[in-house]
């Protein structure tokens, strides 16, 4: 069921192949991500789900020996066109990492980092964005009295939510999440999952996860990848209840992976 085409596509991937030097890591993936929904990418370790995710904001450009073939269309525009402004692209496609990575600055400065580097200087806008973003990331109440303290003093879960606030402060279309909860304790994980449920009202979210319960809980659609191929893609309730493919079934029932 890889020909599943959800309505209102934001991000369309067409025959994407990714190479590390001479070895191919992704063997031609076609997938469409619908607007304002959560899509989970699942699969065993090394199946290429993180690599695929990093193709959507061209994070893989940082790897010298990497090469991409195929197309990734954001609002119909191929982000691998020569004319693409990578800086602008990354502003539209935000990212939250597996390991929380707040900058060694104050909480306030962390949130407005994206605005500052874009050349914004308006103090009132900063104040407003800090509040909306931190509220959006369900962190406002915890940190509103110490916005100018170092972000490095926060707990692990708070740091990860700060990274989410930082990502949404620049108003991206799409937020990529690369196993955002894998380093968090169950309570913090629950909070972040709850937050993802809130965020889907305004943003398109693509989340890579190892945790199938998490995928089932937070996502609208799920894609199963295996050894660099998209095996199955569909609405989450269908894919988990009635997988079409034997490999998918084996994976979600825990027979391998």
């Amino acid at each position: 069921m890889t020909d599943y085409k959800p309505a209102n596509p934001v991000l369309e991937v067409q025959d994407l192949r990714f190479y590390y030097g001479d070895s191919r890591a992704i063997h031609g993936v076609d997938i469409t991500f619908p607007e304002k929904q959560v899509t989970a990418l699942i699969g065993p370790s090394g199946c290429g789900k993180s690599t695929l995710l990093r193709c959507f904001n061209r994070m893989n450009d940082l790897i010298d020996i990497s090469r991409v073939e195929g197309k990734v269309l954001l609002d119909g525009q191929n982000i691998y066109d020569k004319s693409t402004d990578i800086i602008e692209l990354r502003r539209q496609v935000g990212m939250v990492f597996q390991k929380s990575n707040p900058f060694p600055k104050s909480i306030y400065e962390n949130v407005i980092y994206g605005l500052r580097i874009a050349g914004e200087k308006d103090k009132a806008l900063f104040d407003e964005r800090v509040e909306t973003s931190l509220r959006g990331a369900a962190l406002w109440d915890e940190v509103k009295d110490r916005l100018h303290d170092s972000a490095l003093g926060l707990s692990g879960g708070q740091m990860q939510r700060l990274c989410i606030a930082r990502a949404i402060a620049v108003n991206p279309k799409v937020i990529l999440m690369d196993e955002p909860c894998s380093a968090l304790d169950p309570k913090s994980t629950a909070r972040v999952e709850e937050l993802i449920g809130e965020l889907r009202k305004n943003f398109t979210i693509i989340i890579v996860t190892h945790n199938m319960q998490q995928a089932a809980r937070v996502s609208d659609n799920t894609a199963f990848l295996f050894e660099g191929n998209l095996i199955e893609y569909g609405p989450t309730d269908q894919l988990f209840v009635k997988p079409q493919n034997k490999q998918t079934e084996d994976y979600i029932t825990g027979r391998f992976g």
């Binding site: 904001n57 994070m59 940082l62 800086i87 602008e88 990354r90 502003r91 935000g94 990212m95 990492f97 390991k99 990575n101 707040p102 900058f103 060694p104 600055k105 980092y113 994206g114 500052r116 580097i117 874009a118 170092s150 490095l152 990274c163 930082r166 990502a167 620049v170």
Partner: protein, 537 residues
């Protein structure tokens, strides 16, 4: 038997011997460092303590006044001998004397013994006999009288020093005029131009002023010098000393411990702010302290930005490959080149190359007298910067390499460019590492002497690198340095025994300065660490 084997087995497995070996290594290192410091401190801190003066009665020779330095076994191993500082170098030729204890009848500590610190010939130990000349008529012939007369002479000397300031100012202006004249001559300006004649007039005026000042100074000085005192030593030999030549007079035998502490602190203060006397073996170390700090400061100003920027290119922009690897190895090896080689390079490249070039370009009229084409603070600082830049590069590179990848990615993912990432995220995070490099660099620079000896250090600098004459900061000037001072007074002094205490004091001071500067830098680093890292550096 089996049990013993097992015990031995676990002994080796747990690594008990390793614990002992590493602990011993650490203890040895600490012990040697502590011993060094203690030796310096014991010898250095005692220098200014005003010990009592003994009158030593000898069996078959005239008595002497002396300060007991130490007692040890004599050469024949038949008894003890004592070393006394007997001072009065102009009378005896030697400051120190060994006396066998078997020769000593008895020792006394008469209250009327006076120690004079003199401008020339070192200390004098003796009794005051009479005083003659101005300011002495009303004074009693004792220490208090001497001191009140001394005070009055000092007041007059202070007035004279105002004259001296005027003189040096005039001579500075004369020098400027001479340089101007040289420049005019060099430019082939016709002799009858207005500038030339104005110059001539100025010069004549200044010459007159200078001459008048000199005459006045000579007359006043002769007047002041008339105040004299006659002292006698233990054997009854008389010595006439002009009050101007006496720096300070005190009677240690009558001083209480409290007095001595105050005296000691005074001497310490003088050490920090005073000018050196007696070919550097007495007096203060201010010019040397100032020169050392200034040198390290100017050196940091060059080596810090240069090293950091070079390291950024090497780590962030250069494409990793054979060339970069060779450059890295070369940089690491630069730190191993003997410092004298850097000195020679500094002399050849900075002094003779760039300095001479500047002279030819801007001051051609002054040749062959060099302005920048001779050793000076600037060239010495640049040489040291070259010497320490590898340290800064290596530590900066390591700090950059230690930043987790997520930090860069996090910044890029928000749309930052490489440059923005570098100066907004990476540089603040590397700052503690960079500071570590700078601390090491400063410590190394403070201890270097060899390269300085050929790039601008002198045993006695006529003027500080900073003064009131335009442009206030004279980086072309030669300077004094504590490290060179140690070498100079310890090994080049005509009177090594008398200079020995000063060597220890100077060493102690150099160690203290390095300690102080590193402490400041370490404090800064710790603050940065708290702000910019997770505590994983």
């Amino acid at each position: 038997m089996k049990n013993r084997n097992e015990a031995l087995d676990s002994y080796w497995r747990i690594g008990e011997p390793m614990v002992w070996i590493s602990a011993t290594a650490l203890a040895l290192t600490l012990l040697s460092a502590a011993t060094l410091l203690i030796v310096i401190m014991v010898n250095g801190l005692g220098v200014f303590w005003p010990s009592d003066i003994e009158k030593v009665h000898l069996k078959d020779r005239p008595p002497v006044f002396g300060q007991l330095i130490r007692t040890e076994e004599n050469a024949e191993k038949t008894g003890l001998r004592r070393q006394y500082k007997i001072a009065n170098r102009d009378l005896y030729g030697l400051d120190f004397r060994w006396i066998d204890e078997s020769q000593i009848d008895e020792t006394q500590r008469p209250a009327d013994l006076i120690v004079l610190e003199r401008v020339e010939h070192g200390d004098f130990y003796g009794r005051l006999k009479t005083m003659t000349g101005p300011h002495t008529e009303t004074s009693a012939v004792d220490l208090a009288g001497l001191n009140s007369a001394l005070e009055k002479t000092t007041v007059e000397l202070d007035q004279l020093s105002e004259l001296e300031d005027k003189l040096s100012d005039a001579s500075y202006r004369l020098e400027q005029l001479r340089l101007k004249q040289l420049k005019l001559d060099y430019d082939n300006a016709p002799v009858d131009t207005a500038a030339q004649s104005q110059l001539q007039r100025d010069k004549a005026e200044l010459d007159r002023e200078f001459g008048a000042l000199i005459t006045l100074q000579t007359r006043r000085l002769a007047e002041v010098r008339k105040a004299k005192a006659i002292f006698v030593d233990a054997a009854g030999q008389e010595k006439e000393i002009s009050l101007v030549d006496i720096f300070q007079a005190y009677a240690p035998n009558t001083m209480s411990t409290g007095d001595k502490v105050v005296f000691y602190l005074h001497k310490l203060a003088e050490l920090f702010i005073g000018e050196p006397r007696e070919s550097n073996t007495e007096g203060g170390l201010f010019p040397a302290i100032f020169g050392t700090v200034m040198l390290i400061f100017v050196m940091s100003l060059f080596s810090f930005p240069l090293g950091v920027i070079a390291a950024i290119y090497l780590r962030e922009y250069a494409k990793e490959g054979v060339v970069v690897r060779i450059v890295r190895i070369a940089v690491n090896n630069l730190a191993g080149i003997p410092s004298i080689v850097y000195g020679i390079f500094g002399l050849g490249f900075f002094v003779y190359g760039i300095g001479h070039g500047i002279d030819m370009l801007f001051f051609p009229e002054r040749t062959p007298t060099p302005t920048f084409g001779t050793g000076g603070l600037l060239w010495a600082s640049l040489t040291l910067a070259l010497l320490t830049v590898p340290v800064v590069i290596v530590s900066t590179e390591e700090a950059l390499g230690a930043i987790p990848r997520e930090m860069r990615e996090g910044s890029y993912a928000l749309g930052a460019t490489k440059f923005q990432t570098l100066y907004r995220v990476l540089l603040p995070m590397t700052s503690p590492g960079i500071m570590t490099g700078l601390i090491l660099a400063m410590a190394r620079a403070a201890g270097e002497v060899a390269p300085l000896m050929i790039t601008g250090v002198v045993k006695l600098a006529p003027a500080l690198p900073i003064d009131g004459n335009f442009p206030f900061l004279h980086l072309d000037r030669k300077f004094m340095h504590l490290g060179f001072h140690i070498y100079d007074i310890g090994f080049q002094s005509p009177n090594v025994e008398a200079a020995k205490p000063m060597v220890f004091v100077t060493t102690l001071l150099l160690v203290l300065i390095v300690l102080l500067m590193s402490s400041v830098a370490i404090g800064l680093r710790n603050r940065m660490k708290k702000r910019y890292t997770f505590g994983t550096f």
